[in-house]
């Protein structure tokens, strides 16, 4: 099976240097472009490929790009921004791509930047990702020396510089408009939309923000073509995706697999199944902002719509497993503390609601909870739901909370009757 995202990755050695990378077929897409693919041609191929954004929302990449003003009347300055902030709890996929094969991201960036005719590209990298920072710095310098970055790339007349920006740390920076404020050196509150970044983004110029993994899909699409790309998946969605498993399994990890792979295959075959003495109770399929699914969902295919119809989201594709010996209330309490601390404080329901929720979980844990508290949690599902707050952080926080209240009502009640957590931590 082809693994276009991870074929060069072997974490037991340093990532491929540019010569080895090119020997393995790297930067072929850029040579194809130089041989005569216009930006509109590339855009068409990306649209045809069906590629959807891997940052969480699954928005079609080609469609997103098509909103950028093009042609002689378009602003001279436009930007591509790579969202490499990866702070969603339980998510560990972009780190692998950047540490393992930095040239793949740079190749993808050149394709995207060329398509929208961006004059500059920024990588917004999580500050703690030191190893990725070193790998990317080295790869950028190599690509520059090879004439794949800089002015007049391979005589196309197109020029591009990449700037690596390391974040000063805040989960909200991953939200694409907050990210733009952070890059501009401001407090990272999200911006009102419209105007959308595609029209007025970084410093008011047309800007595309794409996730690391999204961009890493592009070299394969352009080098090998749309038909090849669509042949990779075995489900509804096209291509491959990084899927991860963390929790009490035998071999937690992250693997590149075709869309349409079942959840069972990922957990039982790739992650080796649950550790002895533990049973699967539930799981978050795509990071901390997704709704719990149950063992009855194990045979679902990993496709955006399939997971959506089951009441959750594929999102980042990194699953967090809850076992039968770990308290679901404690797990959700941990997530609520995270969201409460990371709320940017811009709008009232989120700024005031999340700390209240966090406190209720502390009270439940310490035996001070009441039936009324559970009612308050339920009320917040409405106050912080989709459309009620300025950005998607708050509704994201409500996903694990709401689904936990549905599936684990008994465990919440048990915290009242036992005056504290009935589970013993191990």
């Amino acid at each position: 099976m082809d693994k276009p995202l991870t074929k060069n990755i072997d974490m037991s050695r340093p990532p491929l240097e540019i010569a080895q990378y090119q020997a393995a077929g790297g930067y072929e897409s850029i040579r194809k472009i130089a041989a005569g693919l216009a930006p509109a041609d590339v855009l068409q191929q990306v649209k045809d490929s069906g590629l959807k954004g891997r940052g969480g929302a699954g928005f079609p990449t080609g469609l997103k790009w098509s909103f950028v003003p093009m042609g002689d009347n378009a602003p001279r300055e436009k930007y591509l921004v790579v969202n490499a902030d990866e702070m969603e709890p339980g998510t560990f996929k972009d780190r692998l791509l950047m540490e393992g094969d930095p040239h793949l991201l740079i190749e993808g960036m050149i394709i995207a930047a060329y398509t929208i005719q961006a004059s500059k590209a920024y990588i917004f990298l999580r500050g703690e990702y030191i190893r990725a920072e070193h790998a990317l710095k080295k790869a950028i310098a190599e690509a520059r020396a090879e004439g794949l970055l800089g002015s007049n790339i391979l005589n196309t007349g197109y020029s591009l510089e990449i700037v690596l920006h390391t974040s000063a740390g805040r989960y909200i920076c991953g939200e694409e408009t907050a990210l733009l404020n952070a890059l501009e050196g401001k407090r990272a509150n999200p911006r009102a939309k419209p105007p959308f970044p595609q029209v007025s983004g970084l410093w008011g110029k047309p800007t595309i923000v794409n996730n690391v993994e999204t961009l890493c899909n592009l070299p394969g699409i352009i080098s090998h073509g749309v038909t090849w790309y669509q042949g990779l998946g075995k489900g509804v969605d096209h291509g491959t995706k990084l899927f991860g498993v963390s929790g009490r399994v035998r071999s937690p990890g992250c693997w590149e697999l075709p869309f349409g792979t079942t959840i069972r295959e990922v957990i039982e075959e790739h992650a080796g199944g649950m550790q002895d003495g533990y049973q699967l109770k539930a799981f978050l399929p795509g990071g901390g902002s997704t709704d719990f699914l149950l063992p009855e969902h194990l045979d679902l295919a990993l496709d955006y719509d399939v997971i959506g119809k089951a009441g959750s989201r594929l999102a980042t594709g990194t699953m967090i497993l809850l076992d039968d010996r770990t308290c679901p209330v404690g797990m959700v309490g941990n997530l609520m503390r995270f969201f409460s601390h990371e709320s940017c404080g811009f709008c009232t329901p989120c700024r005031d609601g999340l700390p209240w929720i966090e406190q209720i979980f502390v009270d439940l844990e310490e035996g001070r909870g009441s039936e009324k508290d559970i009612g308050i949690l339920e009320d917040h599902l409405g106050y912080l739901g989709p459309g009620r707050t300025f950005c998607a952080l708050a509704p994201g926080a409500m996903a694990p909370l709401g689904s936990a209240l549905r599936h684990f009502r008994q465990e919440f009640e048990d915290h009242l009757s036992s005056k504290g957590c009935p589970y013993t931590r191990h």
Partner: protein, 181 residues
Amino acid sequence: MNSNLIASSATSDKIQARELTASEIEEIEHEKTLYPDKQAVGLEALKIVQKHQGWVSDESLLAISRYLDIPVSELEGVATFFNLVFRRPVGKHVMLFCDSVSCWIMGCENIRAHISQKLGIDYGETTADGEFTLLPVPCLGDCDRAPVMMVDENQHRNLTAEKVDAIIQQYRNNEPGEQGS
């Protein structure tokens, strides 16, 4: 997250801007070539100063404000927003301990209790000898090898109490291991 690392106010009249060092100025000047606007350079300057000084003192904040001609209040607003800009002194080594969900499932609370007991510090505190500061950090993106923490620029995974003891000893002996591993 690090609210207890934030100094109360940088606007006091008594505080004097310090001189930025030659290397700080050189790095700030380089950032100016990468961003079209001085506000963006302001955030970079905060990170540069922290890299050299370990934290951002009021004196440093004033120095950046003067050097880039950005109001102190604006810089302070940015400095206090971000988790990784320290407005209070930190120890020689900063331990960023992941307290997010996958690490929690894998029992990070026990490890955290062990560290606190061994070093005699809670989150946000620095050991009396100035060696270590312990801070919580959201998911470090190594959830398949939980529990995880970062000490300075190194990631330590699959933590156990014994492993933590060895790591602490290693830093006390000034043997921090490979950078960014």
